[in-house]
């Protein structure tokens, strides 16, 4: 008996040891903790970028580290969901990073609960200057209750991508109104048929974007009331439901899955088969980051000498009583957690990244990453202008960034719940196209209001304490 045990434990040790040995052997990529150069203070910086974007981030960090000799930024990639939970745990656990880049609607909650520091305490009067220097939409994303708690460093704008070649084949032009879009949908993918591809299908999570386009406002800050069941939003949701009625919600659900899971094919506007010029959709609402995918795709095709469809972008089509050049804007923003050890270093890095008084640095970053700058002065930088000249599609996004009709999710405590509930309402409506839109929105509105009230009441309670 005991011989077997000895045998097993020896094997165990071997088993434990061999992967280690193997991976040390393989480990040309071993990333040991980088050593902070003497005389510099470390700035621990969390972000969630992966893939190509991560290289851009690391390049910015490197340029910053080389540009001065007081601080040393250590970037840590934290991909995946629930970064906010992770940050919250780190603040509560007492070991937060010095700087975090985020894109979830958490500014208000974190500010009220003291998870993050107000920017004016870190940057002093400079923050007001940065506020004036920024786009309106970037300022909206950086402030809560008229105070800066974050600094926006990149805008995400959504617009309608379309396959020019495919539309031309059908004799169609890009949509300007919702009616145009419906007509295109009907021509390319008529109702009551199974389709390999669809002209356009709304994504339930894009209820935010379409809601703003239809002229809706989800929240009224004056009265502090959620406004989710207002007429424009009801109409918007009904329009989104119409796709489910026409094609069948389950067919859509099945079709949708392919959008995420086809190996190696992430943007469903692009055709998969080499002999095809149309992807899974002819039109798709998406953000500026897809410009890069299209560019790469077209290059590949041209190199291989295969017929290559043309693509372009237009603003989201709107109904007659809706908003033009509208949409939902979100973006990345920096926050400095409470308890950060090196907030001054973080502040210097923030300014470097957004290009405040050093526009060409930000122009370089934005051109490398295909990101939308947060200030017109960065856009005007010759380096960035050169980039825009070469990327006409991208330029349209930059133009939309300046539109007054680009709205973020309301910056109120409970915004994450707000966002979730709106998206869930969109999902519910689209998977039950016969359910009353009014009913869905009324119940969502009630839940959201309850949550907002509770959040506010909670925070009041917090204020009362000494």
């Amino acid at each position: 008996m005991s011989i077997r045990i000895i045998l097993v434990s020896t094997l165990l040790i071997l088993l434990l040891g061999s992967p280690v040995a193997l991976s040390w052997f393989l480990g040309s990529q071993i990333q040991t903790k980088p050593i902070v150069p003497p005389g510099r203070e470390e700035v621990v910086f969390w972000h969630f970028w992966g893939g190509q974007d991560r290289d851009v981030v690391e390049d910015v960090v490197q340029r910053f580290n080389e540009s001065q000799s007081s601080y040393w930024v250590r970037p840590i990639a934290m991909p995946g969901n629930n970064l906010q939970a992770k940050l919250f745990l780190s603040v509560a656990g007492g070991d937060p990073p010095d700087l975090v880049n985020q894109d979830d609607p958490i500014l208000a909650d974190w500010a009220e609960r003291g998870v993050i520091q107000p920017m004016d305490e870190i940057g002093g009067a400079e923050i007001e200057k940065i506020g004036d220097w920024m786009f309106e939409s970037a300022r909206r994303l950086s402030t809560y209750d008229n105070q800066f708690f974050g600094v926006c460093n990149g805008l995400d704008i959504r617009a309608m991508y379309y396959n020019k070649t495919a539309l031309q084949q059908y004799g169609l032009s890009p949509p300007e109104t919702i009616e145009d879009l419906d007509r295109i949908a009907n021509t390319v993918s008529p109702a009551n048929e199974a389709h390999e591809r669809y002209a356009y299908l709304p994504d339930s999570r894009r209820f935010w974007a379409w809601g703003f386009v239809f002229g809706g406002d989800f929240f009224d800050p004056q009265t502090y009331r959620a406004n989710v069941d207002s007429q424009p939003l009801v109409e918007c949701l009904r329009w989104m439901q119409s796709f489910g009625r026409i094609y069948g919600p389950d067919n859509l659900a099945a079709f949708r899955q392919g959008d995420q899971s086809l190996p190696g094919k992430t943007f469903p506007l692009l055709p998969i088969e080499a002999d095809s010029v149309v992807g899974r959709y002819c039109l798709i609402m998406d953000g500026q980051w897809r410009v890069r995918d299209i560019f790469n795709f077209q290059n590949k095709r041209r190199e291989a000498g295969i017929a290559c469809p043309e693509y372009d972008v237009c603003p989201l089509p709107s109904p007659s009583n809706g908003r033009k050049n509208a949409g939902w804007v979100n973006g990345n923003f920096f926050v400095v957690p409470s308890g950060a050890r090196n907030s001054t270093g973080a502040w210097e890095f923030i300014k470097f990244w957004i290009g405040f008084n050093q526009e060409s640095q930000a122009a370089k970053t934005c051109a490398a990453g295909g990101w939308i700058p947060v200030s017109q002065s960065v856009v005007d930088d010759p380096l960035f202008q050169e980039y825009l000249d070469k990327n006409a599609m991208f330029a349209k996004f930059v133009e939309l960034a300046g539109s007054p009709n680009q709205f973020p999710i309301p910056q109120v405590p409970g915004a994450a719940f707000f966002k979730r509930t709106i998206e869930a309402a969109g999902y519910e409506a689209m998977s039950n196209p016969d359910k009353s839109a009014v009913e869905i929105l009324k119940s969502a509105n009630e839940r959201i209001q309850k949550h907002l009230d509770r959040a506010r009441e909670d925070l009041k309670l917090n204020e009362e304490r000494p």
């Binding site: 434990s9 071993i30 509560a92 190996p263």
Partner: protein, 275 residues
């Protein structure tokens, strides 16, 4: 128990079908991990890859700091296995071989904690761990195992109870204290049970996801299970790499299982714990 000879053919057939169904996912996982992304899209479930893309493994090793994750996992496993076997053996001895007032009650409490959901203690434990400054340290996961684990205490106690009293009596006559009895008689006799405990703790720690999710925030400290989950969201479109990473992560457990199959099976059938 089915013994009729004439029934054999359909039993064999059923067994064959059942084990094929159960093992097929694993087979396609391994074969999928060896296909190029192009082949995987075209022919996901062909059992034999047309061209063997061993590169997938190198690629997936290089797309995440695999070495670091693995080192952390091994540190955690070693720490937790040492902690659990040590503490649980001590406690089990105290609960089985040392007569004292309140022993019955203590054992009852051990059994009670065995069945408690982890949810209820999750938040306070987090607060405790961060108060003593262990947040974002591997010790946050290792240290609690030094304080005993109900299931394993239970298992070891049951085992210690089967050790003949005469042996301990003989030790006592030789002038051994409880400490001496524990080290010189009970521990040497209990190696199979201790191995079971160590094995289960190893697998448990290897698989642990909730602990790192709560307590670790520096990728330099992530173990494989958690690192792999992070990997899922950023590589969701590269199934071949995900599968290769999953195979790499699974392989040690499977090898371990084959090496210590009996211990596994005995452990599960005597306690009903999942490995």
């Amino acid at each position: 128990m089915i013994k009729h000879r004439k029934n054999r053919w359909w039993i064999c057939g059923l067994l064959w079908v059942a084990s094929a169904i159960f093992s097929l996912p694993l087979v396609v996982m391994i074969s999928g991990s060896l296909k190029s992304s192009e082949e995987l899209a075209r022919n996901p479930y062909g059992l034999v890859p047309e061209s063997w893309s061993w590169n997938n493994y190198l690629d997936s090793l290089q797309s995440m700091p695999f070495t670091i994750y693995l080192t952390n996992t091994i540190l955690l496993c070693v720490g937790c296995v040492v902690g659990t076997t040590l503490s649980c053996a001590l406690v089990a001895y105290g609960l089985s071989r040392v007569p004292w007032r309140g022993r019955g009650l203590a054992f009852g409490l051990v059994v009670a904690t065995m069945l408690l959901p982890w949810h209820i203690t999750m938040i306070p434990r987090f607060v405790l761990i961060s108060e003593i400054g262990l947040y974002n340290s591997l010790w946050a996961i290792i240290l609690p195992t030094f304080l005993g684990e109900a299931f394993f205490i239970f298992l070891l106690r049951q085992f210690f109870m089967t050790i003949p009293e005469q042996l301990l009596e003989a030790g006592r006559i030789d002038g051994l204290s409880h400490w001496g009895l524990f080290w010189n008689i009970v521990i040497p006799l209990s190696k199979p049970a201790l191995a079971t405990v160590g094995l289960f703790q190893f697998v448990q720690t290897w698989n642990d996801f909730g602990g790192p999710l709560l307590y670790l925030n520096d990728p330099q400290k992530f173990p494989l299970a958690y690192g792999l989950e992070r990997f899922v969201s950023s590589y969701s479109d590269q199934t071949h790499l995900l599968l290769a990473a999953a195979v790499l992560f699974t392989l040690p457990v499977i090898i371990l299982f084959f090496l210590a199959q009996k211990t596994f099976i005995q452990g599960i059938s005597t306690t009903g714990i999942k490995g």
